[in-house]
């Protein structure tokens, strides 16, 4: 439709339209109009940001234990001290520990000693994608700052929460991408070839779908070798999740493939002599992409919840690896939970993550629908 003027370039009116012709661009424009969807998008980006820069953002090493700072309550960031003076540099008050000699109960109160928060400090060493560095966003090397308190071993909960974000997201991405690869291969091939192969593939898919997931997760998780190192357990655990998750996307993709496999463009490709793998990868796969994206954004929170729950009851990710679920595990001990309720602060991150991914999924589902009317 684009007509060129004498210079051979598009005029302004046409350029405006030629910029927004792609399906993905239109989808993005639709998403932008959706407030929930945009909240989801920013939330998801925020979580990935935390996961990516986890160690840089955290004031301490997530493994560091401080013997005399067990169960420290959270400290408040302050700008105004007790005498009412304003400080440009934020600070926290150092905690004093007192023991009630009758009940032997520890209690904490703020002292007058201020611990200023410094930025871009040289703290505990960590490795950032293979580079050894000590640079941390904030902290103080003289006094310890625990914005969310410490746990039963005196580890900083905020730092552990950030590193936990990394592990949990890594887990979710690993499990989702593996499920996707399997689901896509099974779905596209069974939809494309049809016949006996399709029948068998569909029965297997149905089988995987009809299994009650939780009992099976329990049983499979118990099979994990107890003495293996935590990385092996992590990968095997992800494998278990994949085992039950590939089926739903496989079925969806198969349906979609079924719809497009006899459309003109596929027939044309076949007539031109394209190989079967070329047709499946180049012509059918791109048509399933919107399903894939929607499925992914809904699947990630589900996987996070399963991982968190199983780690929480102690059968998932293992120490010394830390995920949100592993951190929450301490709250199952009802006495320490009663004593230090701030240990469940990863709950906030979990809810934020799941909310963000679900909102993003809702938004993107409406946005990528090619039949949606752009208002």
């Amino acid at each position: 439709m684009t007509s060129k003027n004498k210079n051979g370039s598009l005029n302004a009116e046409e350029q405006k339209f030629s910029n927004i012709n792609s399906h993905w661009h239109l989808s993005y424009l639709r998403l932008k109009k959706n407030r929930y969807g945009m909240f989801g998008l920013y939330g998801v980006l925020f979580i990935f940001f935390i996961a990516f820069f986890a160690e840089f953002l955290s004031p301490h090493s997530y493994k560091k234990t401080v013997q005399d700072e067990l169960y420290n309550p959270p400290q408040l960031i302050r700008f105004i001290d007790s005498e009412g003076n304003f400080h440009l540099r934020p600070f926290v008050y150092k905690l004093i520990e007192e023991m009630d000699m009758e009940t032997f109960e520890f209690s904490y109160s703020n002292s007058d000693e201020m611990i200023p928060i410094y930025f871009f400090i040289q703290g505990d060493e960590y490795s950032f994608f293979g580079f050894k560095t000590k640079l941390r966003l904030f902290g103080n090397n003289e006094g310890n700052i625990h914005l969310l308190g410490t746990d039963n071993m005196g580890r900083d909960i905020l730092s552990r929460m950030f590193v936990g974000t990394q592990i949990t997201m890594l887990f979710a991405l690993l499990a989702v991408s593996a499920s996707l690869v399997i689901g896509l291969m099974v779905g596209i091939s069974s939809g494309y070839f049809g016949g006996t192969y399709d029948l068998i593939a569909q029965r297997v898919t149905e089988f995987a779908l009809s299994f009650p997931s939780y009992p099976l997760y329990f049983a499979l998780v118990a099979l994990l070798p107890k003495r293996a190192d935590e990385t092996t357990v992590f990968v095997l655990f992800a494998g278990i999740i994949v085992l039950l998750n590939w089926a739903s996307i496989a079925r969806e993709i198969r349906g979609k493939t079924f719809l497009v496999r006899n459309l003109e463009f596929v027939r044309a490709a076949r007539a031109l002599g394209a190989s079967r793998s070329r047709i499946m990868i180049q012509h059918i796969f791109p048509n399933t992409l919107s399903h894939v994206i929607v499925w992914t954004s809904f699947c990630i929170p589900l996987i996070i919840l399963v991982e968190t729950f199983l780690s929480f009851i102690g059968v998932g990710v293992q120490h010394p690896m830390v995920s949100w679920g592993v951190m929450l595990n301490q709250a199952l001990d009802i006495q320490s939970f009663a004593y230090a309720p701030w240990m469940i602060s990863p709950v906030g991150m979990i809810i934020l993550t799941v909310l963000a991914f679900n909102a993003f999924g809702d938004g993107i589902r409406d946005a990528v629908d090619p039949y949606a009317v752009t208002k």
Binding site: R203, P212, S213, F218, T308, F309, I334, N358
Partner: protein
């Protein structure tokens, strides 16, 4: 006729699934490293101070007594035979009694709780869904949408943790961690009103979490379906005829919108049981939840596989019933000659 054919086809399709479930149930738990006898051996050696040879001999004797020395497939056939013929699920090694006794009182409780949750979820969810769909974009609808969103996003075990904190820690509730108060534990026969009330006092977290999360799901589905249906032409026709709005919604809208909901009921059974497991584990309410966790961590083979089997059966039967009801309601499904049912 078409319906009978559909029923037959559906039953035949279910049989391989049932066989596969029993097979997986058995093999999964069998494949765990070591068996009860190895655990026995380790225990007698470390705690009883028995020498390794003696412990091994004891373990061997135990294997013979429990039939653990036979090849796997014979163990499997024995297991299936005992289940189908005598309804004998095997023996719990840890609790030293039969699996029937170990899970006997827990399974009905779990199912009862799941049913209560289910009933609440469907009633609240469908009514709220109809309300939200008929008051689209108004305050009630917005609230309902936020509510479903939270129901989807806040993990059930986290709600349970918060309940645990206030219920057990802040208020030291006497109802925490058991299913009946002392005086009702040994009471036989039909439940009196007081006993039912006592039961509710002990298990309300499960009912509350299950009902509301389930209601969120049902409401979301109902709202979407009804909105779709209300856009259709026959609704417009009904309006043009001058029918009352309430009649349009309840006679023409809702029955047509219920169809996809019924299709999803089979799934929600499994979903409710999952939620029940989560909450019960956190709050230590003696239902299937805590038992499945302990049986898996202590390798209590027959208990674990029996629970797995029973839950799978419940799910399969739930799906089956949902399919049948759907076929009864919708002639298009039962007349379908091939393809997915």
């Amino acid at each position: 006729m078409a319906f009978l054919f559909f029923l037959l086809k559906r039953i035949i399709a279910t049989i391989p699934l049932l066989i596969a479930i029993t097979l997986v149930a058995f093999l999964l738990v069998q494949a765990m490293p070591g068996d009860y006898a190895t655990q026995w051996k380790a225990q007698t050696m470390s705690m009883g101070g028995v020498s390794e040879e003696d412990a091994e001999a004891q373990a061997e004797a135990l294997r013979v007594r429990l039939g653990l020395d036979k090849p796997l497939y014979i163990q499997y056939f024995n297991w299936v035979k005992n289940i189908t013929l005598y309804w004998d699920l095997g023996e719990s090694f840890i609790q030293q009694r039969s699996v029937n006794d170990a899970i006997g009182d827990r399974v009905p409780r779990t199912l009862l709780l799941a049913f209560i949750c289910y009933f609440n979820a469907v009633t609240i969810g469908i009514l709220a869904g109809v309300y939200a769909a008929t008051h689209q974009y108004q305050l009630g609808d917005q609230l309902a949408t936020v509510f479903t969103f939270l129901a989807f996003s806040i993990p059930k075990f986290i709600v349970a943790l918060v309940i645990l904190y206030f219920w057990a820690i802040k208020f030291h509730s006497p109802y925490y961690g058991s299913i009946f108060s002392q005086e009702y534990v040994l009471q036989e026969g039909w439940w009196s009103l007081a006993k039912t009330w006592d039961f509710l006092l002990h298990t309300w977290p499960i009912i509350a979490v299950g009902s509301f999360v389930g209601a969120g799901y049902q409401m979301r589905m109902m709202r979407g379906n009804l909105l779709d249906v209300l856009k259709m032409q026959f609704i417009e026709t009904a309006r043009a005829k001058g029918l009352k709005e309430s009649k349009i919604i309840w006679k023409h809208g809702v029955p047509n919108a219920l169809h996809p909901i019924i299709m999803n009921q089979g799934r929600s059974v499994g979903y409710l049981i999952e939620g029940e497991i989560e909450v019960a584990i956190v709050l230590a309410i003696p239902t299937i939840g805590p038992l499945i966790l302990s049986s898996v961590t202590t390798m209590d083979i027959y208990v674990a596989s029996s629970i797995f089997l029973i839950l799978s059966l419940v799910l399969v039967i739930g799906n089956f019933i949902a399919d049948i009801i759907l076929a009864l309601l919708d002639p298009r499904i039962r007349d379908m000659s091939g393809g997915e049912a």
